[in-house]
């Protein structure tokens, strides 16, 4: 019963909400980090508790008038004053806060990504009870002392691979008494990449036809191939510390097995499968290969990542899998 009611209410409110959000975006424009909240972009409305509070105060006013009760008037006025004061405090609690960074790490579809908002309180008073909301997903509340910087994590569940576009983020506070809610909309261009969900029971990687050679020659008889720019995820053992000391540039040493022992993870080997299924299997293979310490390359239509190893390489492969459009070209 209540669900039907809320559904029909949603149906009524949804277009209104959409238009409102468009208006807000048009009014504020796009945001560039860092964003400092000025009162122009703060919105404030009473919460249901606040509305009840107002009704209760009004009822008490009528009661006090009826009984001509001085202390009743005192209580009523105290409550009314509290409401007015908390309106200002609520508004000021969000004003002048600054958002310095918004970032999120990629995750596998089905997992939750964490969108981290870095907030800084540049004012001399503390800020309390600040939460962020993306869609229907709400963060926990944090408090910020004067001059404090903190991150506000919002857990965001993911369903599909590819980019998740975050249209807008709502930053809000109910401080001090949750009678009112002050909020602001952040329109910062934020994308989170979602990797395909790895398949649970993939066909054996070794059995795949793209396997060119056996697994020998890893480790000992690798020969130094050259230096390349350091990438996050490279093993510290690979960092050319001597070169670093000389040039201040962080470099990674690259090795090439004399007996080039690499495997290829090739989309063409799974051409008979549906695309998502194939990508899931390949994702699993990438993870397995990385775990096993193999050197692996990835071939997708239009993309070829030469065999390598390491977290950066793995992420590169996963990114490619996340963004793969089709597997058609394989046959060409």
């Amino acid at each position: 019963m209540s669900s039907t009611l809320s559904r029909s209410r949603n149906a009524l409110l949804q277009p209104l909400k959409r238009r409102l959000s468009l208006w807000v975006k048009k009014r504020q424009g796009d945001d560039e980090l860092p964003v400092t909240l000025r009162s122009r972009r703060l919105y404030i409305l009473p919460t249901p508790v606040g509305v009840t509070f107002a009704f209760v105060s009004f009822a008490m006013l009528l009661g006090s008038m009826n009984y001509n009760n001085s202390m009743g008037f005192a209580l009523t006025f105290l409550l009314a004053a509290t409401g007015l004061v908390s309106m200002h405090r609520c508004h000021q609690n969000l004003a002048s806060l600054s958002i310095t960074a918004i970032d999120a790490l990629p995750v596998f579809a089905g997992d939750s990504t964490t969108v981290n908002l870095t907030l800084h309180n540049p004012s001399s008073s503390a800020k309390f009870d600040i939460t962020a909301k993306i869609g229907a997903h709400k963060s926990a509340a944090i408090d910020l002392a004067s001059m404090q910087t903190a991150t506000l994590p919002v857990e965001l569940p993911t369903h599909q691979r590819g980019y998740v576009q975050i249209d807008r983020i709502r930053l809000q506070t109910g401080f001090p008494l949750t009678l009112l809610n002050t909020w602001t909309w952040l329109h910062v261009d934020t994308q989170v990449l979602v990797w395909p969900k790895p398949a649970d029971n993939p066909p054996s990687r070794l059995a795949a036809p793209s396997e060119e050679q056996g697994e020998q020659g890893r480790g000992g008889d690798e020969t130094f191939a050259g230096l390349r720019d350091y990438q996050p995820g490279d093993s510290p053992r690979l960092i050319a510390w001597k070169a670093y000391a000389r040039t201040d540039d962080m470099m990674s040493r690259q090795f090439e097995g004399s007996n080039a022992s690499r495997c290829w993870i090739d989309a063409s080997s799974l051409a008979n499968l549906e695309i998502e299924q194939a990508l899931a299997i390949m994702t699993r293979w990438v993870l397995d290969a990385e775990n096993d310490g193999d050197h692996y390359g990835l071939r997708l239509p239009g993309v070829e990542i030469p065999p390598a190893h390491g977290l950066a390489h793995r992420n590169r492969c996963l990114d490619a899998l996340a963004l793969a459009q089709s597997l058609e070209h394989t046959h060409a």
Binding site: M65, N68, N69, S70, M71, A74, H88, Q92, S125, L177
Partner: protein, 672 residues
Amino acid sequence: MRSDGSLRITLGWTISAMLFAYAPQIATKPFWVTVLMLGCALVRWLGEVRRTPLTPAWIRTPIGLVCFLAILQTYGSINGVGPGSTLLCVMAALKLLETRSKRDLFVILFICLFLILATFLTEQHLWSLVYLVCSYGLTMAAWMAVSRQGSHLTQRWYVAQARKTLMFATPLFLAMWILFPRVPGPFWAIPNKANSANTGLSSTMSPGDISQLSESQAVAFRVRFQGLPPSQRQLYWRAIVMEHFDGRSWSANKPSFNRNPANPISRRGEIVTYKITAEPTQRRWLYALDMPVAWSDEGSVGIYPSPQQTLQRRQPVDELFEYEVTSALQYVVGRELSRNSRTHYTTLPPQGNEQAREFARQLLQRTGSAQAMADELLRMFNQQQFFYTLSPPPLGRNSVDDFLFSTRSGFCEHYASAFAFLMRAAGIPTRVIAGYQGGTQNPLGDFWTVRQSDAHAWTEIWLPERGWVRVDPTAAVAPERIEKNLDSALRQFGERGSATFALPLVERLKLTWDMANARWDEWVLGFGSESQSDFMQWLGLDDPDWRDLTALLAIALVCLMTSFSVWLWYRNLPPRGDAAQRLYRQLQRRLGLPATTGETPLHYAERASAAFPDDAHRIRQITHDYLYWRYAGQHHRRRRVAGILRKVRWRFRSRRARQRAHARGTARSNRR
């Protein structure tokens, strides 16, 4: 169910707020309500601590039903303040049992607010200010705790926030208190407070009634005299005139409201004007000194004189009532008495008290006149073995006979009753007056307080040519009662009064408390539309009405809220760095010599001393102190830095002086 421990703190605050809000009503509510409140609080609290499930609905529902029936049983209805607030208590207690979400907790806190209001509807004495502040603070702390449920804030934080909320709200509250137009109610129901127990006079008087009253220290009314107050023995505050006697009790007529009383008072000699603030009695009569000749007649509640020279209102006095009266201390009233009235004022029950009747007849024969008979009776009370006591022996069916001829001890009502009976038995028109006699002057506040213990009864007899004349038989038995007060009168008869404090300090404290209460009544409880128009006139607005008040209130609120938001904005500015650094920068500004990037204070000091050799010592001293202040946390050096800096500032107060000093320094170093 939530039981992650975060609810426990919130629940603790909510339960405390609820019980505190309820506390003043323990005495007036049925006992089972208190038991229910405490029981539910305990059950819920233990349930939360032990993490047991909530009380199921099949237990809660019957309890609620039983409570509802119990309320109906106790009060007879659910309308009115008493049953309404009891219902609220029950709702809060039962709601507590099923509390798990924020919403439930807020519901309880809203009920708390209503409970506070309900308390004020029955009690508004001075202590209720303390109650208001504490219960409001506690509720707001609980409110804060519920709002921030699950956060790891300390208890002290909630208290601090509640204090802040109160502090910020106070200016707005005061503006609303003073300027919100007080429209006199009531709008819907005339508040029915008749059932609330009030001590005070009643319209009938039986032996023992007033002596019972005299044990109460409750305030009946307060008086402020214009000019010199009359002497204590003249302070007869008449309230009720009793004309009927049924053999045991005296009772008053039904009040009649007539603008022009039958018996006008012609005054002789001095008059006295005074203002009375009467405590609520739920009765119609008012108090006035013998005899009222003029009274304030403003506002919606008119004051009406009765044919018996008392003052009364059409509506019961259900709240503090202030009025002004002028009385004539010497007067002639009712010189003409119609035959009907004469019969009316000499009527006695046909039978009973035969001995007294006989005695009265004989006495009149012996003395000859009404005046002489009254004097003889008073002499008898004074010289024979009559006793003045708070606890007289009980009287039988012929109460006057018993009193006059066997027990011979009683309180003022015994003497007044017996005297009036004897006079009537002798055919002399007589009536009994109930009211108060005397009062205590409070030297701190220059007002008089009349308490229930000052309750008194006396008589008036009608004499040809002189009209109604006051005769107080008690004055004959115990003159101290009239000259001083009840206590000294009782002490003379070997009885200790109720007020046993004789210490000057305690006496002084009592007077101070009394004065604080009087001020409270006057300024807070008595604050209404009249005080508001006085205030507006003081501001210079003539003939103000509620529109002016509203406009002024709006202006005041806007001003206050703007200044509050400016203050908040100021507090939102970035901090200005630490004080030490600020003072050190000031030095650089004063010298007109900014420090270069990366220059240490010591390096700067060397450079600055070279540039300003006259001040080299000061500059080094400041730098030294600054470093100790900044890096060793020696905050006491702040004052020294500021002191030296002031001297530096003085020397270089103008740009020219600075340049001159600089030039001198350069010249000197060149010479060197």
